[in-house]
Amino acid sequence: MPITVPRPNLNWRERMFLPAIVAGLAITWKHFVNMLFRRTKVTMEYPEEKWDANLPDYYRGAPALVRDSDGRVRCVACQLCEFICPPRAIKIIPGEISRSDRFAKVEKYPEEFDIDMVRCIYCGMCEEVCPEQAIYLRKDYAITGFTREEMVHHKDKLLEIGGVMHGVVLKWNAKK
């Protein structure tokens, strides 16, 4: 069905278009001057100004492993995150904790824990699925490297990004 677009009847002043053009010029001039004197602030000049201070709380950056206040790597190598990871970016090789260890009843720890940051899609499912509160998405967003190998975060790197997490459930500590 054809639609008739209503055309307004313009009076002679509107048909000259000059007042409208002048009004338009005034608007662009206002924007120009405001930018010239840095009164408008829209652009973040990236390498000089970083996102860090401006990221929202819910931002999902690089996934990382955390230690708790006892210094224990919280991951128990259950491999749930490896299983859930949609792009299969996580690879875990479990190791056994020796009998003499203080946390011997945990039984397993990750001998190797690799996250391929080329594949990671920052979905946060690993954090969600983790029963041990061991893996978290931190606010690191500038993950760079020259080769694919460099883009794989090994356990050390993951722990370095993660750091120590306070206020998590400490279910493996000795009963009081």
Binding site: I21, G24, I27, T28, W29, F32, M35
Partner: protein, 353 residues
């Protein structure tokens, strides 16, 4: 052989060309920064302080890129078109008086007695570069750009010519230096009442001169393919228009031509309506070379102001459709300019100017 004349002319040509090329480069930079600022962006600000070396980087890029010629083009005209697009703008510079005198040498390369006719004759050739470029590319979008360019030319060229007739009615001479001299003696043509405040004829004259100025400025915008009349380019509709098939320095020459045409057009507007190199209170070059240099600076300051105005217009107004441009040219500006001539003639006949 007048070796002094030849030598000074050569020097003037080299210096003016070098200066205008530099100015053109920075006009491109200014265009990008001004457009950015008007859209709340920052524009190129990384190369050098505040991005001031960006034009040099761009020029280097243009020169070092591969000279690629598509297989389906008409080779002769494809190569000819960029030169034809640039040359008219450069040649037109030669008759514009860009300063008073420097060490007794008049600061105009060719002070010919058909000044403005020469400008119109040469500047109209610029359209051939565009039409040829569009046609020789043997591709749909450039072809449409070339066709639009010719339709645009027959729309504005008439009002362009008619709008300046009042100026020459007043001056009585087509020589551009005498236009400037008239404005020094009788006040700038955009405001002829300055210095002669009690003369009602001068106040009355200001109205048709203002109309003339507006019509001529709009026609110059069309002549230089600037928005709101950049129909041959029309990035959004024609994917770049007549220079779609061009790359590297051949595209650079089109670009160069467009921006030098802007400078030339601003120079003509300045000469005809804004007093040329004259600024009230500043004597001409016969009082010392320093004043000669100041005169040149005043001229180019006016040119830069006009270039800024053109950019301001560009980033404010949307593009006209080609039938709208034809309507505008044939039904409004043609008539306005024609009536304007009679008004000025009547004022000159019945009132003391």
């Amino acid at each position: 052989m007048d070796y002094f004349f030849i030598g000074t002319s050569f020097l003037k040509i080299v210096c003016l060309l070098a200066f205008v090329l530099g100015l053109m480069n920075y006009a491109v930079y200014a265009e990008r920064r001004v457009s950015a600022f008007m859209q709340d962006r920052l524009g190129p600000n990384r190369v050098g302080f505040a991005g001031l070396l960006q034009p040099i980087a761009d020029a280097g890029k243009f020169l070092l890129k591969e000279q690629f010629t598509p297989a389906h083009v008409n080779h002769v005209y494809y190569w000819l078109a960029p030169c034809l697009a640039m040359m008219p703008a450069v040649i037109t510079l030669s008759v514009i008086p860009f300063g008073s005198t420097l060490f007794g040498v008049p600061m105009v390369i060719a002070d010919i007695n058909v000044g403005i006719l020469f400008v119109f004759a040469i500047a109209s050739l610029g359209v051939y570069g565009i039409v040829l470029g569009g046609w020789a590319s043997n591709s749909k979008y450039p072809f449409l750009g070339g066709v639009r360019s010719s339709s645009q030319m027959i729309s504005y060229e008439l009002s362009l010519g008619l709008a300046v007739i009042p100026v020459f009615l007043l001056v009585g001479n087509l020589r551009l230096t005498s236009v400037v001299q008239y404005q020094i003696d009788h006040g700038w043509l955009i405001a002829p009442f300055i210095g002669d405040w009690m003369n009602p004829g001068k106040w009355l004259l200001a109205i048709p001169m203002l109309i003339s100025f507006v019509v001529f400025t709009i026609a110059i915008l069309a002549e230089t393919n600037r928005l709101p009349f950049d129909l041959p380019e029309a990035e959004q509709e024609l994917a770049g228009g007549y220079h779609t098939e061009y790359a590297s320095m051949k595209f650079g020459l089109f670009f160069l031509g467009e921006y030098i045409a802007m400078i030339t057009g601003s120079g003509i507007i300045t000469t005809l309506f804004l007093g040329g190199w004259h600024f009230p209170g500043i004597p001409d070059g016969s009082h010392g070379p320093i004043f000669g240099l100041i005169n040149i600076a005043v001229f180019f300051a006016k040119v830069c102001a006009l270039i800024f105005f053109m950019m301001w217009i560009r980033w404010t107004l949307p593009r006209f459709r080609w039938d709208q441009l034809m309507r505008l040219g044939w039904l409004f500006f043609f008539e306005i300019a024609l009536v304007n001539i009679f008004i000025v003639a009547a004022i000159m006949a019945f009132l003391p100017i």
